[in-house]
């Protein structure tokens, strides 16, 4: 099968700064190693079930990224190119915390919280000065993307690193005739939980209502006495937090490596191009769609894996330039 094929660039070589989407296949090979072969009759069905679950779990990670990207854009009209860096930094900080404390929970909290603070600082001291100015904001977030990429390379070196799975989630779970890695189920559950919490937050809480008001019409929201400035920082913190959470969660299955920032940023872009910027529903459905397309693309057409993502993106663009759920 395809997963036995040699990896074109070789695993052991240090990954270049700019990380290859196509090399993603090599990581996916590692990701898929948790297969459990069962009896012949069940194999075909299990194959589909396992690949679908793989796609969904990857899609949940993409949702965590795209949700923040989308929220930030929805409220502030900032296209945050540093978003992939939050994911990567979250992974690295989580890994360091994991090694220091031995606790996965602490790794999750430390990685996400540290990056959330970083996000707030960026918003307060840099991006805020260029409110609604697209080009300067693009330049700034590009600049930070480079700074963080080089900083990570400097501090943690060029070799991909893996995070240990928390012992509780390290095994496999049996679902009927199917045996599937527990950790991936945990990722799916986490993604669903975050989606539910975000939805409840937006629809049921006072701050969520303020957020919706800010997204609809920022000036009127200001005039109504909503502290939009505080809201900006809050949303930026949330976005950075979610991206970093994705980075730590991905650590045990995909590893932490330089170039992950560019790779996931690009995938997150595809998610929001398909789903539409500013929409949580779009981030969730787009994330799942891209996760599944990416996974099945790598399984069936490893040489052309990119096209299974970009072809649908081009088609959707041709029909709906603002994505499935985006607004003009």
């Amino acid at each position: 099968m395809h997963r036995n094929r040699a990896c074109p660039s070789g695993h052991d070589r240090p990954v270049p700064i700019s990380l290859p989407l196509i090399v993603g296949r090599c990581y996916s090979r590692r990701r898929n190693d948790n297969f459990n072969e069962t009896s012949a009759g069940q194999r075909a069905m299990n194959f589909w079930a396992i690949q679908t679950l793989n796609g969904i779990s990857f899609g949940m990670l993409l949702f965590l990224l795209a949700a923040g990207l989308s929220l930030i854009y929805g409220l502030m009209r900032i296209l945050n190119l540093t978003h992939g860096s939050y994911y990567m930094l979250g992974g690295y900080i989580g890994l360091a915390a994991m090694r220091a404390s031995g606790s996965f929970v602490i790794a999750l909290l430390a990685g996400s919280a540290a990056v959330a603070v970083l996000g707030v600082l960026m918003e307060r001291f840099f991006l805020r000065r260029f409110h609604l100015q697209e080009l300067p904001q693009t330049m700034l977030t590009f600049g930070f993307l480079f700074i963080f990429a080089d900083l990570a390379l400097w501090l943690w070196g060029g070799n991909p690193q893996t995070m240990a799975k928390p012992p509780m989630l390290a095994g496999a779970t049996t679902l009927g005739s199917l045996t599937y890695p527990t950790y991936r189920l945990f990722i799916i559950a986490s993604g669903l939980a975050v989606a539910l919490m975000l939805w409840l937050f937006q629809e049921r809480t006072r701050v969520g209502a303020m957020l919706r008001a800010g997204v609809d019409d920022e000036e009127i929201a200001r005039a109504l006495g909503i502290n939009v400035s505080l809201l900006f920082s809050l949303v930026f913190a949330m976005g950075a937090f979610l991206a970093a959470l994705g980075g730590v969660l991905a650590g045990p299955i995909m590893g932490v490596y330089p170039g992950a920032d560019f790779e996931v940023l690009l995938l997150a872009f595809v998610v929001v191009i398909i789903g539409g910027l500013g929409s949580l529903k779009g981030a969730l459905i787009g994330g799942l769609l891209v996760g599944l397309l990416d996974n099945f693309g790598k399984v069936f057409f490893p040489e052309f894996a990119l096209f299974t993502i970009f072809l649908p993106m081009a088609l959707i663009l041709a029909v709906r330039p603002t994505g499935l759920f985006g607004r003009e």
Binding site: S9, L306, A318
Partner: protein, 317 residues
């Protein structure tokens, strides 16, 4: 105050004279650096056509630069095409790529346009990286031959190649100047200022933007062809988004919408990269810091700063 036009003409003549006599002043190494500056100057000017004149901020401009490099490199290496065929072919491939990407990207605007241009260019990068049998993967294509013009001077030497680059870049610059000062160029500026107004005036703005997009791709392709001949090498880095980001910085640093500004910005960045990489491996971080500093302190670039200084002087006099 001196007439603005005369200052520009004087500066252009002085600049050109300096460029022509450069080989007499500099040694071979610095001449190579100057060649690189000219090539990236052309690249930056091509992007300026989009950002400065049409108001379209493309984040994937290296796609056309890189695809032309690959096309020319492959044709020269594998099929032994001479420069007379390989150069136009490379430029043409860049133009066709721009036409294809333009069809998709120009359906969207603003942030969607940024994301789509970036995503499409990374697709090409992925192909260059993954299709090893054709592109050599991340090892790239080494030993692309320098062009043979059938002249008594071999372009393998730095001085003749410098003049080769200078002549082509000068012709391209004249063409670009012609484009931006033409009624077509004026319409592009109109679109930059207010697309809705241009639409109301009856302009088919999509067609104008599409043509500008292709033109920018063609000139970027020309720069890419020159660069593959200059470096005698092409790798996926030529297409990577980091290169697109670098050329964007050149345009903004120089001052968008002035053609000469971005060329100057390119010269500064190439020089800076050369100096910095002599001291440290942290070029990417320096580049990032320059991004932030330029955005904070010189958002309208070098030409903007000069203009402001001159206005202040003019006010005093």
């Amino acid at each position: 105050m001196m007439n603005d036009n005369r200052v520009t003409i004087f500066a252009s003549i002085a600049g050109l004279a300096l460029l022509i006599t450069l080989p007499a002043i500099f040694g071979s190494y610095y001449l190579g650096l100057a060649t690189k500056m000219i090539i990236f100057g052309l690249f930056a000017m091509s992007l300026d056509l989009l950002i400065g004149y049409t108001g379209l901020a493309s984040l994937g401009h290296a796609a056309y630069f890189g695809v032309a490099s690959y096309a020319t490199g492959l044709l020269a290496l594998r099929l032994g095409w001479s420069v007379w065929w390989a150069l136009p072919a490379g430029v043409l491939v860049a133009g066709l790529t721009a036409a294809l990407f333009g069809l998709l990207a120009l359906r969207a605007r603003g942030s969607y346009f940024l994301m789509i241009t970036l995503a499409l260019s990374q697709v090409l990068w992925g192909i260059a990286f993954g299709w090893r049998s054709l592109t050599g993967g991340d090892d790239g294509l080494p030993e692309v031959p320098r062009p043979d013009l059938g002249l008594p001077w071999s372009l393998a030497d730095n001085t003749p190649f410098y003049y080769f680059t200078l002549v082509i870049a000068a012709i391209a610059t004249l063409l670009l100047l012609r484009v931006v000062s033409s009624p077509f160029g004026q319409s592009l500026r109109g679109i930059r200022e207010s697309e809705t107004r241009m639409l109301a005036l009856g302009y088919d703005t999509w067609r104008y933007k599409f043509i500008a997009f292709i033109l920018a791709g063609l000139f970027a392709g020309l720069a890419g062809v020159l660069y593959v001949y200059y470096n005698r090498f092409v790798s996926p880095d030529y297409i990577h988004v980091a290169r697109s980001a670098e050329v964007l910085l050149m345009v903004i640093l120089g001052g968008a919408g002035s053609l000469f500004g971005p060329a100057l910005g390119a010269a500064v960045i190439v020089l800076l990269e050369n100096i910095v990489s002599g001291y440290t491996e942290r070029w990417l971080m320096v580049l990032g810091v320059v991004y932030v500093l330029v955005t904070l302190f010189a958002p309208d670039g070098i030409t903007g700063v000069v203009r402001r200084l001159r206005q202040r002087q003019g006010g005093r006099a």
